[in-house]
Subunit: 238 residues, 2 copies
DNA sequence: AAGTGGTCTAGACCACTTC
DNA sequence: AAGTGGTCTAGACCACTTT
């Protein structure tokens, strides 16, 4: 039986084994359908999924070409801190360090992408793995967008967990960097002298309105962010 | 006209505005098709794409549910270094520091995931932006998998560029970390005292065979890895 | 003007999962 | 056993792009 999966696999194989090089035109849907003895819809689905993966480029009338691969991306999965720690078999711990409400100055307004003077909640927390410091969470929440944040007991539930489970967003931005540790980070994360921090900054919006900004800092020597991509040639069945 | 895109947008809107909360069951395809006055295939495509995005979870007989969102991932685009620099309007420079062939010892074998004793090429290069050091590329290439690497003029073309444009792979792994700078990195990247490096490590394989391992280190104070996600609610037309 | 992909349809059969 | 999604078909019309 010719399935869209089998067509997808064959085309992929042809690309990887250089039957078609980047930039080459592959046959049109009608021809492929005849070759494979299936309907055009089936071919269409296979090619469309390869185009979604960035492996093919398709244009009406111009046909379907193998994309000039600049290197595929890496997909980073950012989980709820608690799950990330528990899934690696360690015990999760959490401490709220600070909770305050304030109006946005020009610096904080820029961080969270809210207007100056907007009402914000500022939270600082420490997440622990097996009792050892794992991550400092330094967060701003827009109270205009999320007034219910005022009623949440952040001593019991981390803002990270509350937001991820309760607050939908439609757009996000992530920035990753390596920074020298501040004196406070050195102390709270119990860093060695000279040990840097791995920093993740994230902003989220819902329908154009800023929701939150967070800076997550991890001990540089203990933290690695890993992304594994599935093998494109691996057959689902065998 | 009811299109699969409009259905996708409506369902997404319903999820984001909490008409359905995470874990909730949404109507089955047949009912939705009747509601929208379209065929089941159209509904199917909409729901399937949302499932591919990780927003819905579907199981036969059990139906379609809103996924428990752990937070969507961040997609990192890793480009050819030269393009990355030139696209930001800076002048690109490149220097080959070292080129050698060797047999894999136990450490290098583990890095590249090749057997001990495998023939490897070792390359070290420096990439510059506007004359300032931007990245050290420290690379191992498996000569068993890529014997043609021996004939490439790496004085003229960086291994990064050669591999990305010429060598297909089917699986990859990325690791990002913050590390204290070594003495050599401090010198080559002209780092300030205490400035860490942002490190990207990447391995690639083709059909199970290891191709290459690379360690890319950037000045921590100058480098930021950024990932922006499209707004899910943004309408393609208006 | 003509070629190619994009999408929809109405129906069919099947595969998987729960009841 | 029955409900739900997964996939295929044959055909149709349309949208976009190039010639």
């Amino acid at each position: 039986m010719v399935t869209y999966r089998s067509i997808k696999a064959e085309i992929l194989d042809g690309i990887i084994r250089r039957r078609w090089a980047p930039g080459d035109l592959i046959p049109n849907e009608e021809d492929l359908a005849r070759d494979y003895g299936c309907s055009r819809s089936t071919v269409n689905r296979a090619l469309q999924e390869l185009a979604d993966l960035g492996i093919l480029e398709r244009r009406r009338k111009a046909g379907t070409r193998v994309a000039q691969r600049t290197s595929r991306g890496a997909l980073i999965q950012i989980q709820i801190v608690r799950n990330e720690i528990e899934q690696s078999g360690r015990r999760y711990g959490y401490v709220l360090l600070e909770r305050a409400e304030a109006w946005a100055g020009s610096e904080t307004a820029a961080l969270i992408d809210a207007p100056r003077g907007a009402a914000l909640m500022h939270l600082r927390c420490l997440h622990l793995a097996d009792g050892a410091p794992w991550q400092i969470e330094d967060r701003l929440i827009s109270l205009a967008a999320l007034p219910t944040a005022r009623e949440v007991d952040f001593e019991a539930l981390s803002p990270n967990e509350w937001l991820v489970t309760q607050v939908p967003y439609s757009r996000s931005e992530h920035i990753f960097s390596a920074e020298p540790a501040s004196a406070e980070e050195r102390e709270r994360l119990r860093l060695r002298p000279d040990e840097p921090v791995f920093v993740i900054e994230r902003r989220t919006w819902l329908a154009g309105q800023a929701l939150t900004y967070v800076r997550l800092s991890h001990p540089g020597l203990a933290y690695r962010m890993i992304s594994r991509e599935d093998d494109l040639l691996a057959a689902p069945e065998a």
